[in-house]
Symmetry: C2
Subunit: 359 residues, 2 copies
DNA sequence: GTGAAAGCGCTAACAG
DNA sequence: CTGTTAGCGCTTTCAC
């Protein structure tokens, strides 16, 4: 299975100085560049950071020496001295959930030319893990934090409150933010989906979703959904939950399960597009009339699924935009004039697709 | 679309000290904990790092004070003093390509209890961007680097060579590694797929893939594939390339295009599973006999697609395992006894699925 | 335009 | 078991 072999290292040669003394290769410092260029450390530092006036000739000599030596500045020392760190901590629950790579993409894009650098941490939907990751990241004294969700442990909330830097909670606006927040109302997303479904004349509605106890946003969507149905006196006819495994496959299995248990359902609302797609494929195979006899809808607006036989009804979660806006706030370019405390609620757009019949 | 409002900040209160002097809130230091606990800075430091012997009573006093104050250690200062940084730089081309989140997952998992922390950077398949990201990351003096691919700019290669830390290039073993490498041979993957296809009796074979000029691995697979066909005198009958857009949709479009241009094709080899899945869906809709009249295969072994109507033939790219192994090497727990220069070639497993007929 | 001195917050090394 | 001293490699500040 795996083949391991030693690389041809000429042993020791790199590790032994001219004088024969063993010495571990020390990383280059400003002093090395200073000596190589005959310019003071201070001026070298100025050149390398483009700060203050330096004569062209000096600048050139320094740059040449730095390049020739292969000098890489030590940001640790720089950060300690200047009390400035160009890092932004970004904490998300998962990377395999298709949602987050999009958000991170928006953040990277926006930060690209801001001089700030995102640093990603993953919590696996575990509050304790979030706390630990946050602690680690804060100990590097970043310039800002972007964190998914409004729910944190006591300790994590306290750290965020006391960090003294911009904090942006993202994805969700249904709750009390610590500082700024950028997201959508998942409650309202569920609510509006419910209204659209009822408006289209469906009545026997089932819900299929994740069992993850800490996916607060999915839960809020379900709450909103039920509230939306209740407006016209409709109640959820059945529910089905899952955890783990391939979402597409789970979508199939759950759909089969719920339909065999409650055969008279005329609509299935899935908590994400992937399981919705699995359900759609299942229904098409079984020859079920979609959306005539059975309507379907998911959530997220995942364009990964664009090539399916039918376009699943969904609601765009504004993932990329959320990333951008959050990054703008941290970078101080949101244009709001506010320092902290920004509330940005984005509005997800309902996409009817081909799986909800026209009212 | 977006609603922005100010948060109710009680202005200034936090920013003004008891004495009425405005002062920006300084982050807590060891000294603060030292004073609050009546223990020397050094001993506080020992307690907080679990180093050296400290009496239980002292430890308790320190821990209590640190917790009460909400002290978060400053790793910048710590790193500068100890010349140790618990960060591992991880550089990948993309997060939207489903492959990389899996790799990152493997890395995170393995590093979890090693005291090391991954820091992710994204290059968008741009060599210059890779160089820039690498420079940024090296300037934080990480304990190791994990980077996707064997192809780098001159400058990037030089930086990696001179960094004096473990470097692990991942995904691909077809080339000259700088230090260690963990991956599969994409050339061989293509070659073996070709053999399997020819063995199954297909003869008029088309290739569909990405146009991305810098996806070296996809290119190597194609080379290997053509070499594999050539062993029995077969040549690729047609090729089709794409870039951008939803892969599933592109897979459909490309399949339609190649089949209308070259209708007598009896096999389509896709450079990744997503476009392969699009092609599969297209063929099923058109009523094409798969795998009887037309065989299909992709690459990656993406389990995201597990719920499709048929299982697409593919080859597992060992993504998760690659991440784990690379992380082990950086953490010094690969068990090989080597210091640097490890070559780990994983063997992807061919999964015939339902889209290659039995030979 | 350039340089010298001081110190960022922590830890290594040693002394007791 | 605990404390003292001396930096880590930069940048700030001030002097020239």
């Amino acid at each position: 299975m795996a083949l391991i072999r030693a690389k041809d290292h000429s042993p020791g040669e790199d590790q032994v100085s001219r004088s024969g003394q063993p010495e571990s290769r020390r990383a280059l410092t400003l002093r090395d560049v200073s000596e190589a260029s005959g310019v003071s450390e201070m001026t070298v530092s100025r050149v390398l950071r483009n700060r203050g006036d330096v004569s062209d000739s000096t600048r050139e000599r320094v740059l040449e020496a730095a390049k020739r030596l292969g000098y890489v500045p030590n940001k640790i020392a720089g950060a300690l001295a200047s009390q400035r760190v160009n890092l932004v901590a970004v904490i998300v629950p998962s990377l395999s959930n298709l949602v987050f790579p999009d958000v991170l993409g928006g953040i990277s894009e926006e930060l690209e030319d801001s001089g700030l650098q995102p640093v990603f941490g993953v919590t696996n939907y575990l509050a304790d893990r979030e706390e630990a990751v946050l602690y680690q990241m804060l100990s590097w004294r970043p310039s800002g934090v972007i964190v998914a969700g409004l729910e944190h442990t006591e300790a994590a909330s306290a750290m965020l409150r006391n960090a003294g830097i911009p904090i942006v909670e993202i994805m969700d606006v249904d709750g009390e933010p610590i500082d700024s927040v950028v997201g959508i109302s998942h409650r309202r997303a569920g609510l509006e989906m419910a209204r659209a479904i009822v408006r289209a004349g469906y009545l026997r509605i089932g819900f299929l979703g994740t069992k993850m106890p800490h996916d607060y946003r999915a839960r809020k969507r379900l709450e909103g959904f039920e509230a939306g149905l209740a407006e016209t006196g409709v109640e959820l006819a059945d529910k089905e939950f899952y955890s783990g495994g391939s979402a597409l496959l789970k979508g199939r299995e759950m759909t089969e399960a719920i339909l065999s248990r409650t055969p008279d359902l005329d609509f299935l609302y899935y908590s994400n597009d992937m399981i919705g797609a699995g359900g759609l494929l299942y229904c098409l195979e079984k020859g079920i009339d979609v959306p005539g006899k059975l309507g379907l809808a998911g959530f997220n607006g995942v364009d990964l699924l664009d090539g399916l036989p039918r376009k699943l009804a969904t609601m765009d979660a504004c993932r990329h935009e959320i990333g951008r806006r959050a990054a703008q706030i941290v970078a101080g370019r949101s244009g709001s004039g506010l320092i902290g405390g920004e509330i940005v609620e984005l509005t997800p757009v309902l996409q009817l697709g081909d799986t909800i019949r026209n009212a």
